[in-house]
Amino acid sequence: MNGPLLEVADLNVIYKTYEGTVAAVNGVEFSLEAGRTLGLVGESGAGKTTTALSIMGLVPSPPGIITSGSVNFAGKNLLSFSEKEMKKIRGNHISMIFQDPMTSLNPVVTVGIQISEALVAHQNLSEAEAEKKAMEMLEKVQIPGQRYREYPHEFSGGMRQRVVIAMALACNPGLIIADEPTTALDVTIQAQVLDLMRSLKEEFSTAMIMITHDLGVVGEVCDHVAVMYAGRIVETGSLEQIFGNARHPYTLGLFRCIPDIEEETSKIRPIEGLMPDPLDLPSGCPFHPRCPQCMDVCRTVVPGVLDDGGHRVMCHLYGKGGAARG
């Protein structure tokens, strides 16, 4: 295939609420090659999930509106697709793993039927064939196939998340969007699930977008990292570029929040202040009210993007003035 599998360009999403217009995603741009993993990092409310939902065409509407941008998947702009066409994409070519396995499984339907749902919808399999395939998928996520007929409440949290993974992988999609897949699990189970996801991803050579606010998870599974803040990607690059040579003050702040086992610190150092109100984003760089290195220009001018060998930073410290004046 020529070019990247997924290319998101200038994506803007707003939510129209009674209090006003929430700018959830502002000009997000990234691309992802087949078989690679992108980590989408940021605080709650940074627009990570909205970005993911835009790719799936599942932005709740109303109140959500995608105002501009394009999402090119395998060379086609998904935003121009009709709902009917999107149904053929979802689950078949792009699927999603949700955050909380306790709520993302239907409690009154057996796990087997839930896994075969995508198979029946997309591959025209008969019930028996779908059942066989679903059992195979269960085995793939290390759950005995004969538990096909059991209900979600008969599984533990980690097993449920593995069932959700089996659902997402059932049709062997080209892209999986995992929305904080390990947040609801405890640490040992997290490691198990991450290991499993990584090995399955390699087995099926699936690309993945991993949404998380855990930099440890990113370091473990991702090839590329994009750091989001207030609906923008403020820094993006390969794993080495971001983890070895972070530049944006926000990214640096995130790294400082990780307690270091070797250094003796009594306190972790959080980033001062709170995420700006998305109803009323600050002028200039959205991070400037919290930025320790804030300059005058940051308050008024939206910084342009400096591209240094794929390592892109959106900050006045590195660019020359604002390429995009706003």
Binding site: L58, G91, M96, V108, E117, E154, M167
Partner: protein, 301 residues
Amino acid sequence: MNNGNGTLFAPSSVQTKEREKRRSPWWEVWRRLRRNKAAVVGMSVVILLVVVAVLAPVLAPYDPNQTNIKMRLQGPSSEHPLGTDNFGRDMLSRIIYGSRISLYVGFVAVGIGAVFGGILGAIGGYYGGRLDNFIMRCMDVLLAIPQIILAIAIVGALGTSLLNLMIAVGISQLPRYARVVRASALTVRGQEYVEAARAVGASDARIILENILPNCMAPIIVQSTLGVAQAILSAAALSFLGLGIQPPTAEWGSMLSSGRQFLRNAPYLTFFPGLAISVVVLALNIFGDGLRDSLDPKLRQ
């Protein structure tokens, strides 16, 4: 389940635990329902009634429509335990046969109401917006008319027959199923598993049938059980008014109606059909209440 005993103090072996876990949620409901004595009594009466209705030809001592002018208006005796009516027909046999009509009307009418009301409610709750508004306002119109008057109007328009009686009672019950299902659908719609189903590309029809409706099952079941009682009552009332089952078919409401003329001399003609109606309706209501309690997840220990 072959290992039914020892559920409370089950040995801690993994095997037993595994088996215990496999019990379906319905088993849990049944366990809680059993603890509620009143509900068990109600359920027994309902089951008894169903058995009587099914076995009516075996149980009834006489043909319910066999007239015998010599034996008219006889009080209860060993020959006719509940007496005879003004045509000399055996009241016990007529009541036994009447249970068939009552149950038939009750279940079919509720079936009509629950299926159509449930579908309308699920569609309204799932899609929301204008469609929902339209459906629910139509239901409000139906609700604004007293149920019995609505049923009378429908029977009046369609003509009196068993089928029309069931349709009339069913339609007059439709709004409450629509409302109950819509309310549940609104909460289920926001659940993550519905979004997950959408994310694997399931069609709307599939989401409604597989995700929305099964998760609304508890209120539908409770509403239906209570609804059967109401439907039996409505059907009896319509028959009493002469708009339902026509004589000579044995039906409790019409028996009540024809017995009315002999209230002074033969009160048993009205007493026994009335008693039958009350017992059945009461049993269904108690059973429905118990079912609601045991299906309520908040009471789960």
